[in-house]
Amino acid sequence: MTAEAPVLAIRPVWPGARDVFFISIERMLPRARSFWVFLLLALPVVLGVLLRIYPPKAPLTGFEFYGVIVALFFVRNLLPLVALLFGSALISDAVDSKTLTYFLTRPVSRLSIFLGEFGAYLVTVLTLTVPCVVLTYLVLCVGTPQGAGFGATDLVQDLGACALTLFTYGGLFALLGVSLKKPLIPGLLFLFVWEGFVANFPGDAPNYTITAYARSLIRHRPSEEGLAELFSKFFGVGESVLVLGSVGVISLALAIWIFSRREYVISS
């Protein structure tokens, strides 16, 4: 069978992105590193099971404890690292593995390639995160005096907060990944120095961090301890969603612009 001579036109953005997405998700999700990340994200589930079996003396309800986990474990610490792991690798992974050439020599635009890859990233990280958050909630709240129904709305909002956190950090680290050859150390410095310290400074400094807005989305967040108790700043939900969404979109737009113009010298 011979294929008909094709019209030389670039493929539309979304069908191209869809096809790139299917290839990328196949390469991203069923990998060992996704499994290990899932295990780490599932640590609170194990912790929750242990706490149900050996109830502690501290007067924290299951729901309050779930709030500690979502705010502290997921949104503040682990999800940004997950975003750094997968987001910074979006294009640089393909460059390192020298497989980017296969995408660049197909009739799909660079916009399609990037959108497809980012879509695969989002689906991957949400697939790893959502079950862990939901399981943590169920383990800690089902069968407690407050019951599983209590805070179900908060669970949905928390999932939204996790998704937005992953979107924003993912966009930012994707930008880092296309801009820098080695984005790991700058990414870690950003997370631990900028986001880790500056977010707890007094005054307006937290306004320039992502984590301050992300943790503001967890409405049932626990009270802070230590220095954070003194200096933590919280924003309104609407303001937080707007800022996080804008940062994510702007980062993505910049990343796409850089990726569209860059040359990739990939050789053996």
Binding site: M1, T2, A3, A5, P6, V7, L8, A9, I10, R11, P15, G16, D19, V20, F22, I23, E26, R27, P30, R31, S97, K98, T99, T101, Y102, F103, L104, T105, R106, P107, V108, S109, R110, E263, Y264, V265, I266, S267, S268
Partner: protein, 306 residues
């Protein structure tokens, strides 16, 4: 002839390093060999031609459009790069089908075309195995399959025979010839000179980023008048033959090789020499005569040494 690949005064540098220097040529239908030593600029030329890089100066056109920034041309262009990088977790069939989907083929079409391409490179038995488990030659063939599967008009093949056994080399060489006969443009970069000669006589010789020569190999050779041809003669009466030939005006040198007893001559005008030898063949027992340097290697070595 419609040129499908056009380089016009194209140059490319990486910082202070000039990879390609003012290169101009056009490629139409047929098979072309790209020949040059390591660091000559072959990979850079192929990357420019396949739109992976933009020229620092000049222009590179592929199917009438700028090669860089025109992904639409890849409906009709295939690239088999020299890097040993594949989707190792995919099976061979999945790998080729996935890339065909990027060309816009639906699942059924992609599957059919992928299977045909894989059969062409004789990998049908292994197409359901993961690519990560393939041998080097198999990896090379699956790379070729993905380049061919969408039946492109233009094919860029960077060292396509690497890692292949002799049987598969013959198969792929025949395939390349067939593609050229079908009217496709195939640009093959390779170091395996004698196999390139079996595929095509049209070559592009490149060295230090410059094109030294392009065209038919024989014509290139003929143009090199300044470089004498080397001829080896096996005869029963070598010395007697030498005495007769030494008077020829276009003879540059004449030696009798101790080890073999053969006569080695360097001549400027081969036709006159061959005629003379023919006349003397009966008297001096000429058994064999052949030109030793009318091949790619000697032509290239000569040009590079200049």
């Amino acid at each position: 002839m419609t040129a499908r690949v056009v380089f016009k005064n194209a140059s490319r540098w990486y910082g202070p390093v000039m990879a390609l220097n003012d290169v101009s040529f056009e490629l139409g239908p047929g098979v072309y060999g790209l020949l040059g030593p390591n660091g000559a600029g072959k990979s850079s030329l192929l990357k420019l031609a396949s739109g992976q890089l933009r020229p620092s100066q000049g222009s590179v056109e592929l199917l009438g459009r700028p090669a860089f920034g025109s992904p639409e041309v890849f409906h009709s262009v295939g690239l088999c790069s020299d890097t040993d990088a594949l989707f190792d977790d995919f099976t061979g069939l999945q790998f080729v089908s996935a890339l065909l989907s990027l060309n816009g083929f639906d699942r059924a079409q992609a599957h059919k075309l992928a299977t045909e391409a894989i059969e062409t490179v004789d990998l049908k038995d292994a197409m359901h195995r993961k690519v990560g488990a393939y041998s080097k030659g198999m990896r090379q063939r699956i790379k070729l399959a993905q380049a061919l599967a969408h039946q492109p008009e233009v094919l860029f093949l960077d060292e396509p025979l690497t890692g292949m056994d002799p049987q598969n080399r013959k198969r792929i060489s025949d395939l390349m010839k067939r593609l050229g006969d079908e009217g496709r443009t195939v640009l093959v970069s390779t170091h395996i000179l004698h196999e390139l000669e079996q595929v095509t006589r049209r070559v592009l010789l490149i060295h230090n980023g410059r094109v030294l020569a392009e065209g038919d190999l024989r014509e290139i050779r003929d143009l090199l008048d300044r470089h004498p041809r080397s001829v080896r003669i096996k005869a029963t009466n070598t010395r007697g033959l030498a005495r007769e030939l030494v008077t020829l005006p276009d003879l540059v040198s004449l030696n009798i090789e101790d080890a073999t007893g053969h006569l080695l001559a360097e001549i400027r005008k081969p036709e006159a020499f061959f005629t003379k030898v023919q006349e003397l063949s009966g008297a001096f027992g000429v058994e064999e005569m052949w030109v030793t340097d009318e091949n790619l290697e000697s032509v290239f070595s000569y040009l590079v040494s200049k």
